[in-house]
Amino acid sequence: MLSAGSDQEVDTDSPVSIKILIAGGFGAGKTTLVSSVSEIKPLRTEEMLSEPSVLVDALDGVEQKTTTTVAMDFGRITVRDDLVVYLFGTPGQHRFWFMWDELALGALGAVVMADTRRLADSFPSVDYFERRGLPFVVAVNCFEGAKRFRPDAVRTALDLNPDVPVVLCDARHRSSSRDVLVTLVEYAIRLISESEVMTPG
């Protein structure tokens, strides 16, 4: 299955990497979740300032293309020698979607971190994963002082499909963050088995 004349071969013998995206608005708890379940590592990438920002920031004589460095949350969980789970956290704003397109490719699924005080911040992430057809779960981070919402209320507010899992979590706790990831993986397994039933052969 190797494409002839290319050294970009499809990987067959390296460890299998499972990629999970952690999305959500600023301050929704992405960094907290990634650091509570995995060995977190700093990862920087460059952001191309979007055109509207360039226009706002434009100064005469300044180069049109402008980049700035963005820190991403990046964590790894070694399942066994030949199987590693990578967590990538990226901000939910539209201007970061250039990263998401690459990250979403081949990803197992995504966790959308929701802060009930700013539920609208989750809309772009939910929209994005729905359009991409990527399995996702919504994790409602229960901040102290925030009004407790029932998962059903969050589901209605975000207009989610009935089968999308909504879980309450406290991202500061390893066990709680772990349960969110387990929910996502189980959901992905369920979707696969359902699609196999629907498309025999």
């Binding site: 071969e9 990987d11 199987l83 789970v85 081949g106 399995p135 772990r178 387990v182 397994i189």
Partner: protein, 88 residues
Amino acid sequence: MLSTVTATRAGTSSDLQLEPEYQEVVKRCRRPKPVADLASDLDLPLGVVRILLSDMRENGLITIRQPARTRPTDPQLLKDVADALRRL
């Protein structure tokens, strides 16, 4: 970001004559290593690392393999992942 980088025989054998940045990459990629891991270890932005790797590949010092571009669908593999996560 999860493409894996592996030093070639040419890369490891010419290690000491290489530029310091190349040496750092070769040293870390004796076994296949994802680009994101490498960027994090080198503390360099992804874009910088990609340019570095592209040059190194042209010089035959490394090979780059793409990860699967489709979602993992092997139920057993995913069950193993779920089990491992439960043990965290």
